[in-house]
Symmetry: C2
Subunit: 448 residues, 2 copies
């Protein structure tokens, strides 16, 4: 070989930098080049709402700088360099350097695509020159923070009732702003039991956040007045969180197989093309319970995908165990979490599924501080197998989702869950943990 | 039959009342008689240190009164009635009524023994008339609270460095007392990795609690001066926590098989004698990992034993899944938890076991509040199977013990743990949860 074994990584965030680091850790001699179209690598995007709300330094979110990756790990990180095409026959990437305007080609032995996703902006007429944001990449947070610092907005309008805007609502309240959330659908959090959603909605109201559903946003005028089918809303800060789209347009001429714009991968994170791997928000990921790929763009998934893809590119790996669909977010003092299938999911999969919901205290009887959790199990009536769990409750009690995610991994039945030897201590849990209380209720339905 | 099917329950705390309630719930017509030697039933004993420290009402710890059990559940609860012997041939119990001094016999169809345990007092010369306590039953807490209220002690001496005195230390500090703990052994928390114990010891010191190890207590004089091989300690409050002994002396003439004073049971909580069941602090319990019975007197175990024994006495039951040895306690702002086997346990069981310990943050990088956990796995080098886990860390991070207890239940390997789809959100956990970080370290050792 004229040159070292070369791995090219597209995208320098969670998935990409994890892949690059794994390759370099395993094969010291490999040349690893990361092409990042922006100016940031390896940052904790999920922390952005809190960085805004707690007025942190934006750099607090950066785990390692491009310079650190170069110096400490020997990775050739090229900021402001964007992949604009991939030729899988010649195994080369067409790159545009946004700093110089120059365009060049770079060949690879192995390619990892971790180009992430971008925030959707619905097709509405936005006349406002500033004050309208999305929050997906670090630079979005940077702009929002600069705007808040200089303009001191007091009326926030959040378009979209998903978890990003729910997290942002808490943090903008922390900054003293009035917050209104506008949701297009008739309710928020699809896939959650309505009983749980209602607890969250009451909590939003208690915390002074106004949620309006069934709202069609028609446009935003020059003065930042948001026009909707339910009237006009004056604002001085708008954030739009209306889903995301994988950054895969540059692959449109390649034979790499995609599903609705997300790159399809096998359980080794290899795409349909030999030597080309993908992971993170631009790709599908294997779901263990469904035994097929899904699109679930989350920070954990991106990190795992990058790490495993990196390992698999240079060594014989293990297949990815798969996700079970665990998500969690905080909203004021509540936690909202879900793992596995919803009742609707489960029935769509052909299970004779049922759900049961309980509300239980989260500390021992008589302990001076008390909490509450509302917990729901989805389970198969025939086998008694747990298929999913959802919960809304005191944030310090929401960790139970991880026990149930582990139960799903191990294909536990409700009877297995009854048998779990969970910790008991008055400041920590009641003697019958809510996990067991819910199992004790669910078991009555199994096999009947 | 001349009379209804009769179940007699000895002991009215967690195990006994759970058993009684289960029987009555399943067989409405059954006559259920509970004999309780004291004046309290169904209370949360584990909450006593906090009830003392937070100056709660002692009745806050009572889950249901004897009167409630009589009225709401139709259970004949007889306070101040103590079983003094069991004749398994005639199926009858000899009872002493401490209120009247009268003695009587009562026959049973099924018997449940849940007489609990009593606090050990080492054979030392105690001359003090008052101010020396143990803390096992509700009446102990009542006496301690009355003493603290009337005498306002300021110097507490806690004999024994186990979790009860560690919990008490926090709570006596809450009341403004000086606290010294004297431990007989050279260190506290046997079975824990020393690295973890050292974190706890530093935390005790930071919180102004003095721990002295290798102390032989020789006696306590009239003025409450505690004489030891390491000098005299002046105190105005002394608590002795030196282990417990099952309350089974009244069975000494019965053929019921015991192990070191604890009643042996099968996986249905049946003793060696037909129609006689037992559970709670007076009995052994099945350990799932060891596949044999152990003595592990804990509130959770007592509740489960009582519930299952009650069900099994009147219906065809399932075998108890078994404990995995999960324990947890809080000490100031730290949590200390353990599940499964210690390294020493594992090696004694014949495993080619190793342990690995990591320290990791418990919130996302850049999140304004941060915590730390030190986590240790014990695993089998050959199979990679997890055998145990221990942890000391921020109390709000200590829930991870329940994930690992679930992993032990399911016989997960380290690779399985790497595959867990744990929740991620900055206020909740880092993107690589400490559970995964420790697994990523441990995997390097497996199969080598």
């Amino acid at each position: 070989m004229d040159r070292a074994f070369r791995v090219v990584v597209l995208g320098g965030d969670a998935a990409g930098m994890s892949a690059a680091s794994q390759v370099k850790r395993r094969v010291k001699s490999a040349e690893v080049i990361v092409l990042e179209k922006g100016e940031d690598v390896s940052y904790g995007a999920c922390g952005m709402p809190y960085n805004i709300g707690y007025k942190g330094n934006i750099n607090d979110l950066v785990v390692m700088s491009a310079e650190d990756f170069r110096r400490k790990r020997g990775i050739d990180v090229r900021l402001l360099n964007e992949a604009i095409g991939v030729d899988v026959k010649t195994k080369s990437v067409a790159v545009r350097n946004h700093a110089t305007g120059r365009q060049y080609e770079i060949s690879f032995d192995k390619l990892f695509i971790g180009t992430g996703a971008r925030a959707n902006v619905p097709p509405i007429d936005i006349k406002a020159k500033e004050g309208v944001f999305t929050l997906k990449v670090l630079d979005d947070a940077r702009k929002i923070k600069a705007y808040i610092d200089s303009r001191e907005p007091s009326r926030a309008l959040l378009i979209g009732g998903g978890f990003i805007n729910l997290e942002l609502a808490e943090n903008l309240k922390r900054l003293g702003m009035d917050v209104i959330i506008l949701e297009k659908l008739d309710d928020i959090l699809p896939g959650y039991e309505r009983e749980l959603v209602n607890i969250l909605k009451a909590h939003l109201e208690e915390n002074g956040v106004k949620l309006i559903t069934g709202v069609d946003v028609l446009g935003i005028d020059e003065k930042l007045i948001v026009k909707t089918n339910k009237g006009d809303f004056e604002a001085d800060f708008v954030n739009i969180a209306a889903g995301i789209t994988p950054n895969t347009d540059f692959l449109k001429d390649s034979p790499i197989v995609m599903q609705k714009g997300a790159i399809d991968v096998d359980r080794y994170f290899k795409t349909s093309v030999e030597d080309v791997y993908a992971g993170g928000d631009c790709a599908m990921i294997y779901h263990r319970l469904l035994d097929r790929n899904v699109y679930m763009p989350l920070g954990t998934n991106a990190n795992k995908a990058g790490r495993l893809a990196g390992a698999n590119m240079v060594s014989a790996g293990e297949p990815f165990a798969g996700i079970v669909g665990t998500t969690l977010f905080k909203c004021f003092s509540l936690g909202v979490a879900k793992t596995g299938l919803s009742l609707e999911d489960a029935r769509n999969e052909g299970y004779d599924a049922e759900s049961i919901t309980i509300t239980a205290p989260t500390k021992a009887h008589g302990y001076p501080q008390q909490g509450s959790i509302t917990l729901s199990y989805v389970f198969d009536l025939l086998s008694g197998r747990l298929l999913g769990a959802q919960m809304v409750g005191s944030f310090d009690a929401i960790w139970r989702v991880d026990v149930l995610a582990s139960a799903l991994y191990a294909q536990m039945t409700i009877r297995d869950i009854q048998g779990l030897d969970l910790a008991y201590s008055p400041p920590f849990a009641p003697v019958w943990d809510p996990i067991l209380v819910c199992a004790n209720q669910a078991i009555k339905r199994v096999g009947k």
